[in-house]
Amino acid sequence: MLIKRRKFLQTASLATASLWLPRFLHGMQRPGALARNGRILVVLQLSGGNDGLNTVIPTRNDIYYRERPRIGIQRDQALTLTDEAGLHPALTVMKGLYDKGELGILHNVGYPNPDRSHFRSMDIWQSASPANEYWSTGWLGRYLDAQCAGRPTAGLEIDDTLSMALKGNDLKGLALQDAKRLYETAHSPYFADYAAAHRGPADSPSGQLHDEETPVGYLYKTMSETIASADYLYEKSKAKPTGSGYPNNGLGKQFQTIASLILADTDTSVYYVSHGSFDTHINQQNQQQRLFQEMNDALEAFTKDMKANGLWQDVLVMTFSEFGRRVSQNASGGTDHGTANQMFLWVAACGKKGSSMNSRICKTSTKATCSTTSIFAAYMPMYSKIG
C-alpha cells in the first residue's frame, strides 16, 4: 500500500505541474522512466460474432460446401493461403502479409460450454475469466494495473465509452474519438480550474481529496489524469501531421487516429478499436463483404503508414470476435451463433510463411470436435510482446 501511495503522489504532482506549465513544455515533463518499453498492441474487436468459416475458408472441405450452398465462398474466389485454406476475397492486405510471413492465424480460440449471448461471450473474451466466473476487470486492464502505473495514457480505446477489456482495478484505459475532441470536452476551463483548485498540499484540511484510498480521492485522480492526458495527447498529436490515405469512414478515421498517436510517440502501449456488426443472421454476404472491405482499406493505409515511418516492427495488430458462426447457413442467407473462432495476428516478421497457424482448419464437421485454445493462452504472447 505504501508503495502504491508514493507512486500516486509522484504522478499526482506531475499532473499538477502539467496544468501550470506553459503548453509547449507539456511533452517534456513526462519522465522517461514511464515510457512504454515494448511493442504497441492494437486490438481490433470484430463485434457481433464474425463468421470465421467465411473468413478463413476451408476450400477443400466438402461438408463446408454442402452446408453452405448459397453463402459458401468458392475455392477460386478465395485468396489462397494453403492447399486447404483461403481468405475472404476482400482481405487482400491480410493475404499479402501472410505471404510475407507477417500474419499469423490462430484457430479455434474459445472457451468451454460456449454461451451464445453476445454480451456474455464478449464478457468472457474481454475479461479472460474462466467461463463460469464473473470478473469485473479486463485482460488489458490487469496489464495496465501491473505494468503501467503512472501512465494514464498507456491504454487508449478509440470510442466514446470504455470497454471492460481496458478496465483494471487501479488503472483504466482512456476512451477518446480523437485527441482534439477529448481535449475540447475534458479541458473545459471550469473543470481544469476546479481540479487545480483542489490540489493544495496533501496535509491540508481537505486531505482526503488527495488520498487515492478514498473514493473522492479516486475521483479527483481520474479527473486530473483525464485533463492532463487530454492535454498531453492533444499537444503531442498536434505536432505531427496525421497520415494520409485513410478511408473516410468510421474505422478508417479510427486507424488514422491510432496512427497519428503512434507517430506522435505517445507513451501508449495498447490501442483498442471495435468494428461491426458482424452479427450476420440475414444476408451475410453483403454485410461481411462491406465490413471486411472497410477493415481491409483501413488496415492497408495503417500498414503502409507504419512501414513508411519505420514503425512496423513496433506494432502488433490482433483481431478477435466473441464467437464464430454455425457451419450451416440459415434460411435467410445468413448464419447463426456458433462457438470458437480464429484470431488474426499481424506480426512483423513472425517467421516463415504461415508459421503461427496452430492447426489445420478442422472446425468443419457440423459439431465442433477439435480442441480449443483457451482465450487466456492466446493472450499470453501479447502480454510478453507489449512488455
Binding site: S47, G48, N132, Y134, D159, A175, D193, L219, D279
Partner: protein, 477 residues
C-alpha cells in the same frame, strides 16, 4: 436540512427531494426512520407495460395447456420479440419514474438492490415485469420467500437454462448460480454440491405465460447429498438447506452493507453481528434494515459521502433535487447506456460490479457534463457501443441520434424559494451543503465565483446548483 437526514435519505432512497424538504425539516430525528418505513408499507402496484398483444399471445397460449415456445409460429415469435423489446424499454422508464417520484423510496431502493442481486437478462417483457413485481413485492419482506419466488420465476429459470435441466442430462447453470450468487457465495460449497443441487432442480420449469411448473417426468428422484444432508431432495428442499446455512445470511448481509453503507470499509465483526440478527429473525429484511438504520455507526463520518453513486442513483437523484420535465423520456435510455447501467440489462448474472468500476475517464467526464444540460438544450454528445443481443446486427443509429436531446425543462421555483433569502456570499456553501454528502468538504469559492452568474440572484442559484453538481463531490452519496 441536516447532513444526517440527507445521508439517511440517500441511503434509504434516491436522495432528498427538493419538494419534500419542508415536510422533512419539521420531523424530529427519532421520527425519520419510522416515517421512511411507513411510506413503503403498502404492497406496490404491479407495473404493467406489456403490450396487450404480447400478454394475450402468452397468457392465451398458457391457458390452452402446456404449450412451449415452439408452439408459436415464426411470425408470432417475431412480433413477440419486437413488442418485448419495446416493452422492456417502457418498463425501464416506468420503474425509473417510480424511483424519482414514488413515496415508497425505501421499497424502490431495496428493489433496485435485489434487481442487481438477482440479475437476469431476458428479452420477454412479461417475464421481466413478473420478476420485477416479485422483487418489489418482497423487497422488504422475507428473504427466503423472495429467494423462492425468484427461483421459480420464468425470467430466472429461462435465463439460467433450467428448462434444459433434466434427469440424466442435468444443466448445472441454475444450481450453480443459486449457490454462488444468490445464497452462499463462492468457496462455500463444493462442485459435488453443485451437481447434486442441479439434480434436485431437474424438472423445474415454466409455462409460456410465466407460471412455474414442476415437470415430474424430468425430475431425478434418486437420493442426493447436499452440504452434508441426504434425501430425495426437490428444488424447494435445496433452497431450505441453503437458508439453513448461516453463511447465506452472512453473504447477503455483507453485500447489503456494501450497497447501503460503505463499499470499501467493511468492519467484519459488525457485519457478523448484523448477519446474526438476520439469521435469527429467519431472514426478515426489514429487521436487518432496522438494525442498520437505527445504529449510531450509520452516521459515522467515514460512512457519509463514501459511496460512488451508480448511474441510476445519480440520475434519479438529480431529478429529485431539480424537479423537471423530461421532454424526451427515451433519452434516459441513452444516458443509462452511456454511463454504464441500463435497468434490465445487467452485464451478467453477477450484476453490476459497482463502486470504482463505475468510473473511468469517459464516464466521469460525461457525469460532470450532465448538469449543464439543465441550463442549455445541448445534445448528449456520445455514441454508445452496439448491443448485438438486441440489435441482431442491425444497429439503429437514427434512433440513438433521436435520443441525444433530453429536452429538460427544470422547474426551478422550489429551489429559488429555498435559497431566496440566502445572501449572495453565503450561497456557495449553502448549496454545497444541500448537494454534497462528504463531511467538511469546502467548495473552492474563487473558482465557483468565476463560473457562476452573480449579477442576478436567481441565475446565481441556478448556476451554483449546476456547477456544484458538475463536481467529483456530487458523484458521492
Amino acid at each position: 436540512m441536516q447532513a444526517k437526514l440527507q445521508h439517511l435519505l440517500w441511503r434509504t432512497g434516491f436522495g432528498p427531494a427538493t419538494t419534500e424538504r419542508k415536510q422533512w425539516e419539521k420531523l424530529s430525528e427519532a421520527a425519520w426512520w419510522p416515517t421512511i418505513k411507513k411510506a413503503s408499507a403498502k404492497v406496490p402496484e404491479y407495473l404493467d407495460v406489456a403490450d396487450n398483444a404480447v400478454t394475450g399471445l402468452l397468457q392465451g397460449a398458457g391457458a390452452i395447456g402446456k404449450m412451449q415456445s415452439d408452439t408459436l409460429d415464426k411470425e408470432q415469435k417475431k412480433k413477440l420479440r419486437q413488442a418485448s423489446k419495446d416493452g422492456i424499454k417502457n418498463l425501464n422508464l416506468r420503474w425509473l419514474e417510480e424511483m424519482v417520484h414514488s413515496e415508497a423510496q425505501l421499497r424502490e431502493k431495496m428493489a433496485f438492490f435485489w434487481h442487481g442481486h438477482f440479475a437476469s437478462l431476458n428479452i420477454n417483457i412479461l417475464y421481466q415485469q413478473q420478476m420485477l413485481q416479485v422483487i418489489r413485492k418482497n423487497a422488504l419482506g422475507n428473504f427466503g420467500t423472495l429467494l423462492r419466488e425468484v427461483s421459480k420465476s420464468a425470467a430466472m429459470l429461462a435465463f439460467l437454462n433450467n428448462q434444459q435441466n433434466k434427469k440424466k442430462h442435468p444443466n448445472e447453470n441454475f444450481a450453480r448460480e443459486v449457490m454462488e450468487l444468490f445464497t452462499l457465495g463462492r468457496g462455500n460449497y463444493s462442485e459435488y454440491d453443485v451437481k447434486e443441487a442441479a439434480r434436485a432442480f431437474t424438472g423445474w420449469g415454466f409455462e409460456l405465460n410465466g407460471d412455474f411448473v414442476f415437470r415430474r417426468q424430468f425430475h431425478d428422484d434418486d437420493p442426493k447429498m447436499l452440504l452434508g444432508k441426504t434425501g430425495n431432495f426437490e428444488g424447494d428442499a435445496v433452497l431450505d438447506i441453503l437458508l439453513e446455512q448461516p453463511q447465506t445470511a452472512r453473504f447477503i448481509t455483507r453485500k447489503l452493507y456494501r450497497f447501503l453503507i460503505n463499499e470499501e470499509q467493511l468492519p467484519e465483526a459488525r457485519i457478523d453481528q448484523l448477519a446474526d440478527v438476520f439469521f435469527r429473525s429467519k431472514y426478515d429484511i426489514m429487521g436487518l434494515l432496522d438494525a442498520i438504520f437505527t445504529s449510531d455507526w450509520f452516521y459515522e463520518p467515514a460512512n457519509m459521502g463514501a459511496k460512488i453513486k451508480s448511474p441510476i442513483e445519480l440520475w434519479a437523484g438529480i431529478r429529485r433535487a431539480v424537479p423537471m420535465q423530461v421532454g424526451n423520456p427515451e433519452s434516459q435510455l441513452l444516458l443509462q447506456k452511456a454511463l454504464g447501467q441500463v435497468l434490465f440489462y445487467p452485464p451478467n448474472v453477477a450484476g453490476w460490479p459497482g463502486g470504482r468500476q463505475w468510473i473511468d475517464s469517459s464516464s466521469l467526464m460525461l457525469r460532470l457534463r450532465i448538469p449543464q444540460l439543465l441550463l442549455d438544450s445541448a445534445e448528449l454528445d456520445v455514441r454508445t457501443k452496439s448491443d448485438d443481443d438486441t440489435d441482431m446486427g442491425m444497429r439503429d443509429d437514427a434512433l440513438e441520434r433521436r435520443r441525444r436531446r433530453l429536452k429538460l425543462t427544470p422547474d426551478w421555483k422550489p429551489l429559488l424559494d429555498e435559497f431566496r433569502s440566502t445572501e449572495s456570499d453565503e450561497l456557495i456553501p449553502a448549496v454545497a451543503r444541500m448537494l454534497w454528502q462528504i463531511p467538511n468538504a469546502s467548495p473552492p469559492r474563487g473558482v465557483l465565483e468565476r463560473y457562476t452568474n452573480r449579477s442576478d440572484h436567481d441565475d446565481q442559484i441556478k448556476t451554483t446548483m449546476v456547477q456544484l453538481m458538475a463536481t467529483p463531490e456530487y458523484q458521492l452519496c
